[in-house]
Amino acid sequence: MITTKIEDRFKTEEYFINMGPQHPATHGVLRLILTIDGEIIKNVEPDLGYIHRSIEKMCERDSYQQIVHLTDRMDYLSAHINNEAVCLVVENALELEVPERVKVIRTILAELTRISSHALWWGVMGMDVGALTTFMYAFRDRELINDIFEETCGARLTMNYNIPGGLMFDIHPNFVKRVKDFIAEFKTKLPEYDTLLTNNVIFQKRTKGVGFLSREDAISFGTSGPVARGSGYSCDVRKHHPYSAYTKMDFKEVLRTAGDTLARYEVRIQEMWESVAMIESLIDNIPEGDYKVATKAVIKLPKGEFYQKVETARGELGVFVISKGDKSPYRLKFRSPGFSNLSALNKMIVGGKIGDLVAVSSTLDLVVPDIDR
C-alpha cells in the first residue's frame, strides 16, 4: 500500500557539502562542513588546522623580540596591531614608559592598518555577494596605505615595525605628507563605497535581517570587534582598556543594534570614517622625541602573568604571557578574535541559505591564519 502521509511522500534528506579548504568564498584554507537540506543550511561545522603553524609553541623558544615578527603572520591584515600587542605586554611587564612620539606613531599606523583591513574586507564582501568590481576599487585605495607602510617600515604587509621599547626606526620624512594625501584621497572615495554597494537594493536585500546574532549570544560566544558591535555590545578595547595614544584621544565607538549582516557591514564602514578622523587629529601633532627607549639586548620578563588586549581590525586580540623570568615566555597564548568570531557562525547561519552563508562569513571577516595561528 502506498503511504498516504504527505510527509513521507515528500521526504527530503539532508546531505553534506564541503565548503573549502579550496573555495572562493572561504578566503584561505578554512573548511566548513555544511549539512544542508536543499538550499537550507542545517548545521555548519568548521574544520580547522590547514595552516596551523603552532606559533604559540614557537614563542616558547623565541626571544621577545623575535616573537613580534611571528605575530605578523597571524592576522596578516592587522600585522601592525598584533606587533603592538606583544610590544605592549613586554613594555608593561618591564614597566617601561615609551615616549609619547612612539605612542602616537603606533596609533596612526594602527588606524591606517584598520582602514586597510576594512577596505580589503569591503572589497571581498562585495565579491562574495557577487559585485566583483568592489575588490579592485578597494585594492586601489589600499595600495596607497601599503605605499605608506613600505616607505616607512620597509614592508607592505608583514611590517615588524614595532619592537619592545618603541619603533625599529623613525618615520620617513615623507610620512606625514603621504598620510595627509591619502586621507584627502580616501575621503573622496569612501562615499563611493556607499553608492556602489551599501545603498544597492540587491545588497540591502541580501544583508538585511540575515545572520542575526543577539547581544547575549555575541557576549556568550566571546565575539568582539565589529561583529559584536553590530549586535550592540560595546566592546571596543580602545575605549574600555585604552592603550597607546587612545588614552588621550576622543573618538566614537561605532555601535549598531540590529545584529544582522548589514549592521556589521555598517559598523566597519563607519569605523573607516572614525579611523580617518582619528588619523586627522593625530597626524599634525606627532610629538618630537625619541623613537625608542633602550632595552637590554636580551629581554627577560619578571616572573608572573601578563595579559594585554588590543583592538585589531577583527576584534579583541589578547596576548597572555606566563613568564618564569627567562628570555622566552613559559607559555604564550594568543586569544585571536577570528577564532571566537568563527564559533558564532553556526548560531548565525542555521536556517539560512547557501548564499547567506557567504554573506555572513564574509562579515565575520575571517582571516584563517588568525584562527589557526
Binding site: L48, K57, Y233, Y307, G318, R331
Partner: protein, 153 residues
C-alpha cells in the same frame, strides 16, 4: 565591584578557593577542580558578579600539573577575574566543561584538548580541532618531543 569585594564575596562560598598573593594585573584565584563548574556558574549568574564574558581560555602545562586558566570579564560591571584550575593527573586530566555557561568555551576547550590532552566532561563535541585525527601526543605540553618537526635553537 572592586577586587576586594569580589574576593570577600567568593570566600563566602567555601569552595576551597585560594587567591593568589602575588601582585598581578587581575585578581587571580585557584579553585579545586571538583568545584570548578559550580563556581563558574555562580560567577556568571550572581547579579553582583555577572562575569558574562569569557575572553580567554588557556591551557597551561605547569611542569608537574596541567591546568586551565579562564579570563573573565563582566560587561556590566567591567571588572575582571582570572580563575585557575589544575590537576596533577597527567595521564587522564579531566575538568568540567564550562561551555554550557559560555558558548565560546566550546571551541576553546576543543583547542585545549587538542594541544594539552585535557578532557572536558559534558562537552558535546570534544575532538581534535586543529591537528589531524590520528595525531599522537599533545604538542603544547612541555614533555612533548618531536625531533623531526621541532627545531630547537
Amino acid at each position: 565591584m572592586s577586587n576586594q569585594e569580589i574576593q570577600e564575596n567568593l570566600t563566602e562560598l567555601n569552595l576551597g578557593i585560594v587567591f593568589s598573593e602575588e601582585p598581578a594585573q587581575y585578581l587571580t584565584l585557584t579553585v579545586p577542580k571538583e568545584n570548578l563548574h559550580f563556581l563558574m556558574s555562580k560567577l556568571k549568574l550572581v547579579r553582583e558578579l555577572s562575569f558574562d564574558y569569557l575572553f580567554c581560555l588557556t591551557g597551561v602545562d605547569w611542569g608537574l600539573e596541567l591546568g586551565v586558566v579562564y579570563h573573565l570579564e563582566s560587561t556590566t560591571h567591567r571588572h575582571n577575574l582570572v580563575v585557575k584550575v589544575m590537576t596533577s593527573d597527567r595521564e587522564n586530566p579531566v575538568f568540567d566543561s564550562v561551555q554550557d555557561i559560555w558558548q565560546t568555551a566550546n571551541f576553546h576547550e576543543m583547542e585545549v584538548f587538542d594541544f594539552f590532552g585535557i578532557k572536558f566532561n559534558n562537552h558535546p563535541n570534544l575532538k581534535r580541532l586543529f591537528l589531524p585525527k590520528d595525531w599522537t601526543g599533545y604538542p603544547l605540553r612541555k614533555d612533548y618531543d618531536d625531533p623531526i618537526n621541532m627545531i630547537i635553537k
